[in-house]
């Protein structure tokens, strides 16, 4: 993917090696301002590793990451107040209530008038009745909503979402997506999303970056990819790429079949 002048996230030749395993092998991509980009790939493709490096909690072996014009390897604390994330790999303190958790993170992110902001988010994400309950007593779906509230506390300019609607029922999942879309429309937030839900990707994402074994194997808009692979859905495109069916062969096979 070539350099894009309005890129909010710019990744260049990023590599990460764990002992003998090279999890990310020199990936380069940009995420344009105000768009949603999906980072897709099978298990072990390098999605979470890449997101972790973007957040600064994992140091790359080599390469460069720029977020909002800041070098994440040197100046990440300048940009972290303008970012946020959710991930199923982290949790919130279970014995604290939802309100206490949100209050702590509001202070960490320097949110002005935290009580008001927590009230707004609670109303928007249907958390009002949960505010006094310990986080550990919530269902998986409720926890996901609280995590999203935490991620939106500081009204981030860049939001990294790792499986944001995992464990949500279709109704709540749909409302969460609508909420994120609405937030992006109003705020101009740039989102990078790792997901295994292909209908979510088709609905929300402007661009898709396909990873396999730590390398970028393809990219484009969902429509472009569906067309390029001669498929009907992103689910089918995902399967083709994850199983290593490359684009020309797939197109050739389809041509022959028809």
């Amino acid at each position: 993917m070539g350099a894009v002048s309005d890129a909010v996230i710019a990744v260049r030749d990023l590599r990460k090696r764990f002992a003998r395993v090279e999890a990310v092998r020199g990936i380069t991509f940009d995420v344009r301002a105000g768009t949603t980009t999906a980072l897709l790939g099978g298990n072990g493709a390098g999605k979470t590793t890449t997101l972790s490096m973007l957040l600064g909690v994992l140091l790359p072996t080599s390469g460069a990451i720029t977020v909002l014009g800041c070098d994440m390897l040197r100046d990440r604390h300048r940009v972290l107040p303008r970012m946020n994330f959710t991930s199923p790999y982290v949790d919130l303190p279970k014995r604290l209530t939802v309100r206490e958790n949100l209050r702590v993170f509001a202070d960490l992110y320097g949110v002005a008038r935290p009580s008001m902001r927590i009230g707004e988010l609670s109303a928007e994400l249907d958390l009002v009745d949960l505010l006094k309950r310990p986080y550990g007593q919530l269902s998986a779906g409720q926890r996901t909503r609280v995590s999203l509230a935490k991620a939106l506390l500081n009204r981030p300019d860049v939001l990294l979402l790792d499986e944001p609607t995992a464990s949500l029922d279709p109704d709540i999942g749909d409302r969460m997506r609508s909420h994120l879309e609405s937030y992006q429309r109003i705020s101009g937030c740039t989102m990078l999303l790792a997901s295994h839900n292909m209908s979510e990707v088709e609905r929300m994402c402007d661009d898709v970056i396909m990873l396999r074994a730590g390398t970028v194997v393809d990219n484009g808009s969902p429509t472009q990819l569906i067309e390029r692979y001669g498929r009907d859905t992103m689910e089918e495109v995902f399967l083709d790429i994850a199983r290593g069916v490359d684009e020309p062969a797939r197109g050739f096979a389809r041509d022959v079949a028809t």
Partner: protein
């Protein structure tokens, strides 16, 4: 759930650099642990439980031995004072280690490390929580010592503040080193949080003078601030003298150990960032 967000999105984040934002982030960490602590009376009681029971035990030993022992007759508060000061060290270390372990159990480290919180602010939050835990734990035991045995550790006067500060600082240094070990080796190393400080107990001269130790161990003792503090305590109780030389040695050694503790902890965080364990640490 309301999908649409009404109105514009104003910027809600305050200025992030400088002393005030830094203090606010430290306060957030303290708030997080204070929420946990203050809503659980068993936690608060358990902090004072161990030092109180140990103090009561040594107080009865003193009552038993004092009539036939000139040393204890001269300094009846010797063992109680030693127990209480030892507990400052233990609580100080435990306060730092347990505050950090709590974040690991909660799988909250990832959230903290992607927030604007800086490493020195995390450390400052841990140290403040350690001070609070120590004051609760040792304060409770001091109260019981006065109620049950009419012994006030405050009879040591201002030197008590000096001893307290020196022991707390060394507890912090060990606590940071233990936190580094737990971060490096996972919660399997949690036992260190409870046991690490006892390694220095035999050479700290808590209940006996350093002079009784073999000469090789004496060298080890004098490399620890604790030995200077407890020697200083004995000088105060038996000779009514505050030994500035011992106090100075303890302070200098504390500076060295605190620097080592911070360096070890920072190295462990750096290593965790290289290995990618910050997002995965937990039970």
């Amino acid at each position: 759930m309301t999908a649409e967000i009404p109105g514009e999105v104003p910027r809600v984040v305050d200025r992030q650099r400088g002393l005030v934002p830094s203090l606010r982030r430290i306060r957030a960490l303290i708030r997080r642990h204070a929420y946990l602590l203050l809503k659980s009376w068993p936690r608060i009681v358990s902090m004072a439980y161990y030092p109180t029971v140990t103090m009561v035990l040594w107080a009865f030993v003193t009552l038993y031995l004092a009539p036939t022992n000139r040393f204890l007759a001269d300094a009846p508060g010797f063992f109680i004072g030693a127990v209480l000061l030892w507990d400052v060290l233990f609580r100080g270390q435990l306060g730092v280690s347990l505050t950090f372990t709590e974040e690991m159990y909660s799988r909250n480290l990832g959230n903290l490390f992607v927030s604007p919180l800086r490493l020195y602010e995390l450390i400052a939050g841990q140290l403040t929580m350690s001070l609070m835990r120590t004051l609760i734990g040792v304060g409770g035991a001091c109260g019981f010592a006065f109620l049950l045995f009419h012994y006030s550790i405050f009879s040591m006067g201002l030197p008590l503040v000096a001893f307290f500060a020196c022991l707390l600082a060394f507890g912090w240094a060990v606590g940071l080193a233990v936190s580094a070990m737990i971060l490096r080796y996972g919660l399997g190393a949690e036992e260190l949080a409870w046991a690490a400080i006892f390694l220095v107990a035999p050479v700290s001269g808590v209940y006996y003078p350093i002079a009784v130790l073999p000469s090789a161990l004496r060298a080890v003792s004098y490399a620890l601030p604790t030995a200077h503090v407890f020697e200083g305590m004995r000088a105060l109780l038996l000779e009514q003298t505050f030994r500035y030389d011992l106090f100075r040695n303890a302070v200098l050694l504390d500076v060295v150990y605190i620097a080592l503790g911070v360096a070890l902890f920072a190295a462990a965080v750096h290593s965790a960032r290289k290995r990618g364990t910050l997002l995965q640490m937990g039970e």
